[in-house]
Symmetry: C2
Amino acid sequence: MYGAGDVRVENVPDPALQEPTDALVRVLRSCICGSDLWPYGSMPASEKGRRVGHEFLGVVEDVGADASGLKAGDVVVAPFVWADNTCDFCAEGLQTSCRHGGQWGVDGVDGGQGEAVRVPQAQGTLVKLPVAEDSALLPSLLTLSDVFCTGHHAAVSAGVSPRTTVTVIGDGAVGLSAVLAAKRLGAERILLMGRHKDRTDLGREFGATDVIAERGDEGIARIRELTGGDGTHTVLECVGTRHAIEMALGVARDGGVVSRVGAPQYTEVPMDFGTLMRNITLTGGVAPARAYIEELLPDVLDGRIDPGRVFDRTISLEDVPDGYRAMADREALKVLIRP
Amino acid sequence: MYGAGDVRVENVPDPALQEPTDALVRVLRSCICGSDLWPYGSMPASEKGRRVGHEFLGVVEDVGADASGLKAGDVVVAPFVWADNTCDFCAEGLQTSCRHGGQWGVDGVDGGQGEAVRVPQAQGTLVKLPVAEDSALLPSLLTLSDVFCTGHHAAVSAGVSPRTTVTVIGDGAVGLSAVLAAKRLGAERILLMGRHKDRTDLGREFGATDVIAERGDEGIARIRELTGGDGTHTVLECVGTRHAIEMALGVARDGGVVSRVGAPQYTEVPMDFGTLMRNITLTGGVAPARAYIEELLPDVLDGRIDPGRVFDRTISLEDVPDGYRAMADREALKVLIRP
């Protein structure tokens, strides 16, 4: 990515092992994230550009001496940050704050939207998948890299359970994943705020019981009308705008929890005297996907959930620039890449 | 209170039962709250004025027909909002959002800083105390009305336990109560931010292991220095200023919780991209004291905790205006009133 609207497919040097803890992974599937659209919309022009992509699964091609447990031929998924999975933060399930971890696409690490990736801290980062390279489950397994785990993180952080009502704000891939995650955690009432019918239709299939097209004060009033005036116990904010976080606080029931996973395009949140009197909690954050993959994997393998349905377009590497355009124009919900 | 700096002691009509759910309580002890100092500092002048005081304990003098379980002569404590203690919010322990509750000093309900109070929803609101009218425990029992329960709420909401490090911001009566509450919940490392030595000395006796006099960026740097660079798992914000909430976010460890109980003098909190990446939770609120009284009462009765030590001055009703002045001038930490 060289700037807003400027994504180019280029030849770069083949990655190679650098550290004994590295592994080399040939990418089978990658995808474009809603969060990639923020720099796609606003990144200042850059001569050097930057690698992009932080969601991928693939086949191990080579393994460093200290990356035990992995071997060439293993099919693996990578969470959207790399981590040693042994430090105190990782042990607490917060691999996004790993003391020896980092992000894809920066500091000499490859991005996921490419043919191959050098994976640092491979033993901690990668999770083996018991499937073949041509498995029909690859799209759903790829969502464990970020998007479904992000929806799950929103729901878990909010404390979604069979006893909680849920509002999900946003009908993008994260919002729909949050609906599916809330349903999986037993929520019986899931109110989805969104206005793209094809997306909210998938939201209904994922478990949404109500769809609210209204926004702002009208949206808040509608949610309150549907919940006896109270709002919902949990609110999963899956957009990231100031507008969305304001709605989220507005529809939270007293004592309720707003969980935010949308990348904030704001710097301040209106947590004022009123939210104090109502004991509103604001939680969530960037999802430690690595902490959730083993737990969610069996449900994907057994077909109990099919989070890969958020992909509605598949492209090759050459078409990645058009994939960005299609997602930015809302022509596509989420774009799968087959290198 | 007729305006900033203008508190008057006046004769008002004696309260009487109005509803069958009422009780009439003669006040034995009341006190001035740090939150009373906000209107004392800024309330616009008013001809009518308003009743003040929301912390009191006393003796039941008369009971309505539907306030069962209470009888004349009972010594009782009132939490700082009244509530039916039976609605769904109360059942969840959020009596501050009771569907049939309300605040002291407004809408025809008396304030606690007076000789007697008509208590609405008396059966749900009042908690009987197994002590005599002249018990030496009255000051500590009075803190169950608000200040100690508020510190406890901060600690409970933050998830304080033997496994969490704690920062307490503020050496006022709520901050010191939060220290005592954190200690009671098993915290072994409690860092108290405050700069009034007589107060932080009491904080050390309540359980603070470190006292940090620095503020702002220096205060944040000091806490990080004392915690290996990480900050603490939990942060109890007991002041209410923008300055304090910024410090609170700055000293929270990744994945940590900031619990706020200081009455916010701000409307916006900087929960930006950085706090999302660090998975910081912002929780807390006005304390549902009623939910905690039964749990905390045995520790006060047995003398295991002595939260009444936050009172460092005792006055009569006539001296209430000077009591406000003394607290506002920081001459007194917290003022006990003996009508």
